[in-house]
Structures are given as structure tokens and as C-alpha cells.
């Protein structure tokens, strides 16, 4: 039997739908106040149901950090350690250390960049890991592309591993108006690159990129429709668009404008739903994540399936610099709702400049 650790960060991803940028520290309480619900149970269960190996012997954390999900299936497992009502990064680190002491050969974890950092702090490159993405920020390419991809990686046993970066957003750069990710360390992951996320590459802030963004902004300005609500994704491209529209946009948040006026700032799911219901016509302007091409289901988790159900596919305007789009093999969605994902799939137009566009498939 292969000793396999399973640890779940039960609060990872909760900040997303309520417009927070993570669940670190006190932010978690704010997420709860704003009505956030856990997203990790579904992610881990979607993965476990697809695991067909019979030789895994799980060592897991109690309750919502692991045991609650394993007990719904037929796996053999041991529960170690204890947790309180509320969990935090220290719990993750402490339990992973205990798992390592018990000689796990593989660790499956569910969480976001913060969880990956905690695991790196304990394991470094000693034990291979499979990351099931469930955070708000998932810049790190250690994560599987989806729950299905995670299960496939686990099912295909291999003795070949590669090192993948553990990244997190560079808060200082963000405050300075640049979208950057900084290296924190490396984790060892099974060698199955096609199932792993690409590194979310920072948009280049050199002059040509800036010109490209200005062209996109000019094109959108000339084609903007009156009496329509425009919801703007985070990021530097959209910040340039907002500037062209004459409004000051938050860099990390989702904002909304109507007839040239900012009508919503740093919106969460609830705020988005209220605005969409209030205005007759709504369009979303967004940009894919560089490196992996996700348009929904990763960074801007406020765009929940509930929100997207109210938006017509033709009203989703995708923009990206020429450089970013030419380095993507496709766009991706993983909203957690298969019907919503299906609606968004197929070829879409991406505006890449004043006179240029790319037709690319959403998968």
C-alpha cells in the first residue's frame, strides 16, 4: 500500500465569491460575514470519486481537513492529529509535518497559493505532491488544471517527478500598479505537464505591452454601448481600459461602470448580482490569465456560475495583449459548474489591439 497524505484547507477559495483576495488571517472572518460558503468539499469529492487506485492508504487530518470527505468513499485511511473549530496555516503545517514523520510517499492537498506555501515550508522537495486547485489566488503551477486532471495524475502512478514553482502574488508590486508573481520555492509534482497549470506569467509592463493595452482601450471606447452596464475584470489591461473610460479602477477588484460613471467597486458575487439585476443590459470585459488562459474559475471567483447564468455569451468581451494570447494554446474555464462551463466553450473572439483580433477555443 502506498502511504498517501490528504490535507484540505477548508477555507481556501471562500474569499473569491465575496470579492476578497484570499482568506489569510482576518480576511476569513470577513468572508464569513459576507456570506461565503466553503468550496473545497466539492473540489475534493469531485477528485476522490474519480480515483480508481486500490493501493492507496490515506493518512489524513481530522474532520473538515480531510476525514469528512474520505469517509464517504471506500478508501482505507488513518486519521492523525487534532484540530479546533477554526483552522489556520499553523494547523496545515503541523499536520503535514506529522504526515511526513509517518512516511507518506505522496501528499494530496486542496487549497490555493497560501496552502502551497505552507506545504513547501514543511516538505520542500522531500515528498511529491498533487495540488487540487481551490484557492482564490492560484498563481503556482504546482496545481492540477482541474479536479479531473488531479484524479488522472493520481491514478497514473509514476516514479518521475518535476519541480514546479510555488508562487504568490507580489503585493508590493500590486500596490505599485504592476501585476507580478514572486517565487517562494519549489514543490515536487508527478511528471504530467499537460495536466498541470501553466505558470501565471505576469503581464509584461514594457512599452509595447502598454501600447497594446492602449490600442485595446481605444477600440473598446469607440465601440462602447450606451445604457449598458460594463463589468471590468482585475488586472493591468483592464486598468488601462478603465482609464480610457475616464474612471479609476481598483487593480485587484471587479468594478462596474455605466454611461461613463463608476457604479460599483471591488464587487463580490452579491454586489454583481444586484447590479446585473438592476441594469437592463450587462457586458463583462475580462482578460485571460497569462500562462494558463483561464477566463473563469481562477482569479476572479466573484464570477460564479450564478452570475454567469445571467450573462449572454456574446456579452462577454475578452481582451488580451498580442503577446499574451499568442503564448496560449487555448482559453480555459473551470467554474465548478459543468453546465456553465459548457455554455462558455467553443471559439471566442479576443480583442488584441485596435485592428487585431484572435479567434481561440475555450476548453
Amino acid at each position: 500500500m502506498k502511504k498517501t497524505g490528504l490535507i484540505v484547507n477548508p477555507i481556501a477559495g471562500m474569499g473569491g465569491s465575496v470579492g476578497l483576495k484570499g482568506t489569510d488571517g482576518e480576511t476569513y472572518k470577513k468572508a464569513l460575514e459576507l456570506g461565503a460558503v466553503p468550496t473545497t468539499p466539492q473540489r475534493i469529492e469531485d477528485t476522490l470519486v474519480l480515483i480508481n487506485r486500490k493501493d492507496l492508504y490515506f493518512i489524513t487530518a481530522p474532520g473538515k481537513m480531510g476525514e469528512d470527505y474520505l469517509k464517504k468513499f471506500d478508501f482505507k485511511y488513518d486519521v492523525i492529529s487534532t484540530i479546533g473549530k477554526e483552522t489556520n496555516a499553523d494547523d496545515t503545517k503541523r499536520i503535514v509535518r506529522e504526515m511526513a514523520d509517518k512516511g507518506i510517499e505522496l501528499l494530496i492537498f486542496v487549497g490555493g497559493d497560501g496552502t502551497a506555501r505552507d506545504i513547501y515550508d514543511i516538505l520542500g522537495l522531500t515528498t511529491p505532491v498533487v495540488g487540487i486547485p481551490s484557492g482564490v489566488k492560484m498563481f503556482s503551477p504546482v496545481f492540477a488544471l482541474s479536479t479531473t486532471a488531479a484524479a488522472e495524475i493520481i491514478n497514473n502512478e509514476t516514479d518521475q517527478f518535476i519541480e514546479k514553482e510555488v508562487l504568490d502574488i507580489d503585493e508590493e508590486a500590486f500596490r505599485a500598479g504592476k501585476l507580478g508573481a514572486k517565487l517562494y520555492g519549489y514543490l515536487k509534482v508527478p511528471k504530467n505537464p499537460s495536466l498541470l497549470q501553466g505558470k501565471k506569467e505576469p503581464s509584461n509592463v514594457s512599452k509595447p505591452e502598454e501600447l497594446s493595452k492602449k490600442e485595446i482601450a481605444q477600440y473598446l471606447l469607440e465601440n462602447i454601448e450606451n445604457d449598458a452596464l460594463y463589468i471590468l475584470d482585475p488586472g493591468t489591461t483592464l486598468a488601462t481600459v478603465a482609464e480610457k473610460f475616464g474612471v479609476q479602477k481598483t487593480l485587484l477588484g471587479i468594478d462596474a461602470i455605466f454611461n461613463g460613471q463608476l457604479v460599483g467597486s471591488d464587487l463580490n458575487e452579491k454586489g454583481l448580482l444586484e447590479l446585473i439585476k438592476k441594469y437592463r443590459k450587462t457586458k463583462i470585459i475580462l482578460t485571460p490569465i497569462g500562462g494558463n488562459g483561464f477566463i473563469f474559475g481562477r482569479a476572479s471567483k466573484q464570477f460564479t456560475p450564478e452570475v454567469l447564468k445571467l450573462i449572454d455569451k456574446k456579452d462577454i468581451i475578452i481582451v488580451a495583449t498580442e503577446d499574451k494570447i499568442s503564448r496560449l494554446d487555448c482559453l480555459r474555464v473551470d467554474t465548478g459548474d459543468i453546465k456553465t462551463d459548457n455554455k462558455l466553450q467553443g471559439f471566442v473572439k479576443v480583442i488584441t489591439g485596435y485592428k487585431t483580433e484572435t479567434l481561440i477555443e475555450v476548453k
Binding site: 518535476i162 511528471k191 505537464p193 501553466g198 498580442e322 494570447i325 499568442s326 503564448r327 496560449l328 494554446d329 487555448c330 471559439f347 488584441t352 485592428k355 487585431t356 483580433e357 484572435t358 479567434l359 481561440i360 477555443e361
Partner: protein, 323 residues
Amino acid sequence: MTTKLHMNENPYLPAESIRKAAVKGMENVNRYSGLKYLNELKNLLSKYNDVAADRIVLSHGSDLLLRELINVFSKDRKIIMVYPSFFPVAQYALKQARKLTKIQISPPDFSLDHNLVLSQLDEPALLIIDNPNNPTGKILLDYDLVEKILQNKNALLLVDEAYYEFSGQTFAGLIEKYPNLAITRTMDKAFSLAGLRLGYLLTGDNFKHHFADFPAYLSTPTVFAAVEALKKPEYMSAAVGKILREKVKTEKDLATAGVRVFPGKTNFSLINTKIPDFAVKLKEAGILVKDLSDEWLDTYFRISIGLPEENELLISTIKKIIN
């Protein structure tokens, strides 16, 4: 010594008689190449392609023809291209186009969505499609799609058939029927004349008029060598045969070494490998391959098929890198 597997060149020298013809061209190099020889070259190309000689335009390299076509025919129409495609042309189109639509083809099969292409023809358009595609090697077009495009009066279709001799597929037979078709070809690849740069264009009626006064003064060594090469095409056919056989073997060896190979119809292979710094490590070992991450996707590389010993060196070097 460097092994050059990064520019899709033919690893075999042209036949000795062809090289001698080029040298003979040097004898009168103080004079412009005469119309007599240019016409002889056009007549031989006409026979080789089964296309009337007055539909053939000569140039030093097909890139110049592609640029000219973009300059002239994209003024009042949008350009539609596939991405990735021959990067210098893609970059030039991006620079010159009044309006540009790129259609992304994606791994693993890199196929072109035919209905998507046809849906883009609601306004005047110049479609530029390399077939087979560079760098994927994929055949993107078939007769059904090409004829549907050409039946649309909004469309001008330019097919780059630089690798025709390797793919065996051409639309030259449609040149008489459809005025809105043009095809670029080259003798750089299959005919082993990369250093002499002989490209040519096959023109449908809509393009023919513009090129009536296109300057065609090629260098005499180029004309003489091309004439000799076309008089003895069997030498080219034999080299193409050797390359294609080597390709099958090399691709099999690459796959065995753990590298993913995508099927294609050219004298190069598209591969995907996550080996860190793959191209850098090969370069350190004296082998040049095309790292496609500069213009396109990380972990994708294009490797020309070389001489048997060059391909063996490539495989053994890759195995060493992996181990």
C-alpha cells in the same frame, strides 16, 4: 561543428551539375540575367506545376512575394491568418494590416475549424494560409474548404506551399478556375537551393494583373541553377524521399526517447517536451533547433530532418540530456 536543424533546410547539396550551373552563372556576372534564361525558367516551372507560364512570377525568395501581396491586397480588406504560421509573414501582416483576424490552431491536433474560417468571410478578406503549416507541419486545407472560400467573392486566398514537395498536396490545379487564388512556392527547400533564394508565385487572374510589371531580374547563378534543377527533378525527388524516410525513423526514435512528436507533412518535426532548457542544452552540444517559445508556446520545438548521422547525433544527445 554545428549541426543546423533549426531552419528547415535540405541537408543534401544539390547535384553536381546544378552546382556547376550556378558557377557557370558567375561567368557573365557583370551582366543582368537575360530574358531568355528567365523565360526558360518560367517555362520549366510551367511544365513542373502544370500552370501557364504567364501565371508565374519569379522572385528572390517567396517571402518577398508574400510581403508584396500583403502590401497590395490588404489595403481595402482584412487579413485572415492562422496562428501559428510562418512567423516572418505573421509579423509583417500584424504590422501592415488594416485589420487582422488570427485563427488559433491548438494542440494536440492543430486542425483548422472550416466553418469558423467560412464564417469570417462576411467582408472583403485576404486569407493567407500556409499548407502544410509551419511550424506544426499540419495540412490545414482540403479541396472542399478551398473551393468554398474561392466561391466567395469577398475572399482572396493565398496559399503558401513552401513544403509542397514533402506534402504532395497542391491547389495549383485550381488556378485557372478561380481568379481569387494565388500560391507561393519555393525552391529553397526540396530543391536544396536555400542559398540562392528562388521563390515563385502562381497567380489567379485577380493577382496576375498586378504582377505584370513585377521586376524579375534574378541573379544569373540562381537562374542557371534553378533551370538545371528543373531539368533533372529526379535528384530533388530522391532527396525528398530520403528525408521522408529519415523522418519516419527519427520521429520513432524521438518518441522512444520520451519526446512527444506531432504528425506532419514537411521536412521538419514539431515536438513537445518538458525537458528544462531543451534547446539550450542541445545548443551546448552543438545542435541548433527552433525553440518556439519565443513566438508561441513554451515546451514546443521544431526540428528539421537532417542527414542520417545528424539525426542520430540528435537522438543520442537527447538521451544523454534525459539521463
